[in-house]
């Protein structure tokens, strides 16, 4: 019979009708930690690796502070060992038929299903997140991810013919991350045939558990290796020979910004506060709890933010039943924060929501797009037209209409601006780990002698260099639809293959780049709103114009030592490419049908914005056109730096563009390639930079572009066969010239 204590409690509860705790036991998580004697190492090549003489870091329960286990801190040798294991299994894994890899991934999904309780308990215990979030959302999604990618692997030979897996992929994860972030990235990598080395911060046991589950599925133990170590090992991982790509995920705060139209402000705030009052905070492993805690550091951050917001004049509302002891922080609603205050610019920490009013859709877009963040957003409106206007206008990777936070493996998730430049999920996620067949493997080349501060800084002075022979080329920088004089007011000589002076071209500098980028931005909205058919028509007109100019272009190329036959082919191919890209872009965009959702998810291909291109010296005309065409046709506006040795054919094309294209659509700046590259790479308002120059230049571009996380494509100094279809006009160019936005439209009335 029940004790009298519970009996009297029942009496009390009958009147108060409070919820009680619904604790989940974490015995299984502790039991698993015990199998490693509470001392976790790394998991490499299907075995636990516990090298000697390593320091270790305690793994603590974020809510009680209790020590759960200790985790080793890796050193460079451990990273090397892991990469070696991944490399050893790469050959075998990538040459398996896709169907085999598909089966392997399905088996891993089943293994997760069998051990799901252990997985969600461990994750909830260690990260402090509410168990129902991990159990009901993360774990099923992880299984779905594996299933989806198994299907992709199965059809890889037909659907992705012409693409091959990159090789060994490194993955670096931030201090607090859900294990799901890891799954989003390793699933596509493994599915297409890459092998993975994951560097996790110590004190995160869940990836080790996943690696163990994967490793026990013989016969491919080395495809997933997990090392726990400090993030200083990141460069070590990237520099290992054999590692073809490193994906990294930065830490993001979990707070939200809420923009509410003034007319519904009061009603919305009231309902929001009412609902907040019902939220329950508590230990993550309590099944009846809505939110857990993320540790003392997260709570302090939230605390600081609230205090600062209040000092800047904001109203703060906190509610919900929250245990008074740390590190719990109640769900908080901050309103009336002046838009110019520092808090309004900063990232909002979890679990805060900052609410601001707006009057019109235009204002809402301006406010929402006015931050460097561009991850995801949801739009709530009953008016379809209005909702879609916002959805199209928001500069983010994912938009939900009348819903929030929906995720599916088939829908690509990415971002723009500083939310990153890579995708996971869907087809885009697969391409992250693929390269066109036959591309040579990347050898890490890091010139330690490259002086980032000095690269391209100095402009060589140019002096008169002899008489110009033959017809003078068009002179000036083609910016804003016409030829302009360069800001520096000097020129550089272009010598032909005989050594005599072909002509002078303008010496462009930083100011000219600035002007060109501005002109491109001005032309962007008009160009973006053109239909694919309109863009195609312009490209066709340009193709016809080039065809008329053929004798002129051929003679310019001949002067630079190109054989007549080859020059003719070059011009012909250029014309052909312009027409081909125009035709290609007409078939774009598609709607996905997503499981568990009624209603479509639109995959929109959107232009990147302003695309800067530094053209190679090989095939000076053809490369110029081959790069220009896909960029333009996808809705971007372009700033180009033509070949340094032979820019004149490009300038001839500019004369045609002056009459045919809207001003500012294409801008061409001639000059010292390194100097102009520097200006472009350091420019924060260029959305992507394609560089086909030297290896050193490639390294500089990659380093400098981290400033605004612009998309980058470099050739690392290797010439490209522009005349070949695959390299000169292949699908890779089209993929890189646009980005995907996922637009979720749940249906139902």
């Amino acid at each position: 019979m029940a004790a009298t204590r519970t009996a009297s409690r029942a009496c009390e509860i009958f009147t108060t009708l409070e919820y009680g705790p619904a604790p989940e036991s974490h015995a299984c998580a502790l039991a698993w930690l015990d199998t490693q004697d509470r001392h976790l190492g790394h998991y490499v090549n299907g075995q636990w690796l516990k090298p000697e003489h390593r320091s270790s870091v305690p793994c603590q329960d974020p809510i009680t502070g209790e020590n759960l286990a200790s985790c080793l801190q890796a050193q460079s040798e451990d990273v090397a060992a892991a990469v070696e294991a991944a490399r050893a299994s790469l050959e075998n894994w990538s040459t398996q038929p896709g169907a085999f890899r598909a089966q392997h991934l399905t088996r891993l999904a089943k293994a997760i299903q069998k051990h799901q309780r252990l997985l969600w308990t461990l994750e909830s215990l260690v990260t402090g997140r509410a168990v129902r979030e991990v159990r009901d959302r993360d774990v099923p999604l992880a299984q779905q991810l594996l299933q989806y990618h198994a299907v992709q692997a199965h059809t890889q030979e037909e659907a992705l013919a012409g693409w091959e897996p990159m090789g060994v992929v490194g993955l670096i994860l931030p201090p607090t991350f859900p294990f799901l972030d890891m799954m989003w990235r390793i699933c596509p990598a493994l599915a297409v045939g890459c092998t993975v080395v994951v560097l996790v911060p110590p004190a995160t046991p869940t990836p080790l558990l996943l690696a163990q589950l994967a490793g026990e599925l013989a016969p491919f133990p080395g495809i997933l290796n997990v090392i726990s170590g400090p993030d200083s090992l990141g460069p070590v991982l990237a520099a290992q020979p054999g590692v073809q790509k490193v994906a990294f995920c930065g830490a993001t705060e979990g707070g939200l910004r809420l923009l509410i139209q003034e007319a519904v402000w009061d009603e919305t705030m009231r309902r929001l506060q009412e609902r907040m009052g019902r939220l329950r905070c508590g230990r993550g492993l309590d099944g009846a709890v809505d939110m857990g805690a993320r540790g003392a550091a997260a709570r302090d951050l939230a605390q600081r933010y609230v205090r600062e917001a209040q000092s800047q004049g904001a109203q703060v509302f906190q509610a919900g039943s929250v245990p008074s002891d740390s590190p719990f922080f109640p769900p908080t609603l901050v309103s009336d924060l002046p838009p110019a205050s520092p808090c309004a610019q900063a990232e909002v920490p979890w679990p805060l929501v900052v609410a601001s009013p707006f009057r019109t859709v235009k204002e809402a877009l301006a406010v929402a797009n006015g931050t460097p963040r561009g991850g995801s957003a949801s739009v709530w409106s009953e008016r379809l037209g209005q909702a879609l206007e916002l959805a199209y206008g928001l500069q983010v990777g994912t938009v939900w209409i009348n819903a929030h936070g929906l995720r599916d493996p088939a829908v690509p998730t990415g971002g723009c601006k500083e939310s990153g430049s890579s995708w996971h999920g869907g087809q885009d996620g697969l391409y992250e780990y693929l390269r066109p067949s036959g591309t040579p493997a990347w050898i890490p080349y890091l010139s330690k002698t490259l002086n980032y501060d000095a690269f391209g800084l100095a402009l060589p002075s140019t002096l008169p260099a002899g008489p110009e022979t033959g017809p003078a080329p068009p002179y000036g920088l083609f910016v804003g639809g016409r030829f302009q004089a360069p800001g520096a007011r000097s020129s550089r000589p272009i010598r032909d293959s005989q050594g005599s002076l072909h002509g002078y071209v303008a010496e462009g500098g930083a100011k000219d780049i600035r002007g060109a980028v501005e002109a491109a931005h001005q032309a962007a909205p008009g160009w973006m709103s053109q239909s694919p058919a309109a863009r195609a028509a312009l490209l066709w007109a340009l193709a016809a114009a080039l065809q008329r100019r053929e004798p002129n272009l051929v003679s310019r190329l001949e002067r630079h030592g190109v054989e007549l036959k080859v020059a003719k082919v070059e011009v012909e191919l250029s014309v052909k490419r312009l027409r081909a890209w125009g035709a290609r872009v007409q078939a774009q965009g598609c709607a996905l049908q997503v499981a568990e959702l009624r209603g479509p998810v639109l995959q929109l291909r959107e232009p990147l914005g302003v695309l800067a291109i530094v053209c190679p010296d090989e095939w000076p005309l053809l490369a110029f056109v081959s790069l220009l065409a896909p960029a333009l046709v996808h809705g971007n506006t372009v700033v180009l730096v033509p070949s340094g040795a032979c820019p004149i054919p490009a300038l001839e094309v500019c004369q045609e563009m002056a009459t045919l294209l809207p001003a500012g659509l294409v801008n061409v700046v001639t000059g010292d390639q390194d100097h102009l590259t520097r200006c472009l790479a350091l420019h924060q308002d260029i959305q992507a930079l394609w560089y086909f120059g030297s290896a050193q230049g490639s390294q500089f571009v990659e380093w400098a572009s981290a400033g605004n996380l612009k998309l980058v494509w470099v050739n690392r100094g290797c010439p490209r066969a522009w005349d070949q279809e695959a390299e000169g006009a292949g699908p890779e160019l089209g993929r890189r010239a646009a980005r995907t936005k996922a637009l979720w439209l749940p249906m139902g009335d």
């Binding site: 029940a2 009496c11 009708l17 009680g20 009846a288 009348n402 009335d749």
Partner: protein
Amino acid sequence: MSAHQQGTELDLSWISKIQVNKPAVLRRAEQIQARRPVKKEWQAAWLLKAVTCIDLTTLSGDDTASNIQRLCYKAKYPIREDLLKALNMHDKGITTAAVCVYPARVCDAVKALKAAGCDIPVASVATGFPAGQTHLKTRLEEIRLAVEDGATEIDVVINRTLVLTGQWKGSDFIKTSTGKETVNATFPVAIVMLRAIRDFFWKTGNKVGFKPAGGIRSAKDSLVWLSLIKEELGDEWMKPELFRIGASTLLADIERQIYHHVTGRYAAYHDLPMS
């Protein structure tokens, strides 16, 4: 039942402005079933609360005085005495909220309850239950007769013809359906109704009650219903004055759960008195 409320002027513009985000409602309905598990002594207490909100119902073609009497007795003693004693709730007057029968059986119900010494109300379904497709005159007469016989609550079937042509009426309680349809009380429907009750309360200050009926058979379900009310409307609505569950077999399942809580064992059907 609470005092009869005054109500407000009918304002049809309220109804035309209503928007329901169906996918979001469906998501919330799914969530609510997993989000608030209630265990151990909390579960026992909640289940007893659920019992006090049940309208113990029998609406069969073969209802006679004898099964009505059994039902009324069960309404007065819904949970076995010793189980209630173990929870120290035997003297709290735990009975169901009401007994719900067809109009012709109201007399029998009133008699049986009087004999058992119980003062819980007798509710009668009326107005051409369940289809409501009879003449207004007979429907009104039905209500009058039922009240004469001693019924103090009436479950009225609304005239769907009037609804579909936008002619609405007010009431003290709203019920999900007669319970005799193919789809009865589901969570998405309930969420929309509860939000409407909340909006009405915010606008006018009047509290309208809620009664789901049909298909609520398991104790676990009744807990979810209670937590749904708690989440959407708050603690004040979790009482028989504002919340009723129209059910018949639910009581048996609740009793078995309480048996399990008290003894740690699963009861056989013959261990507990039938209703």
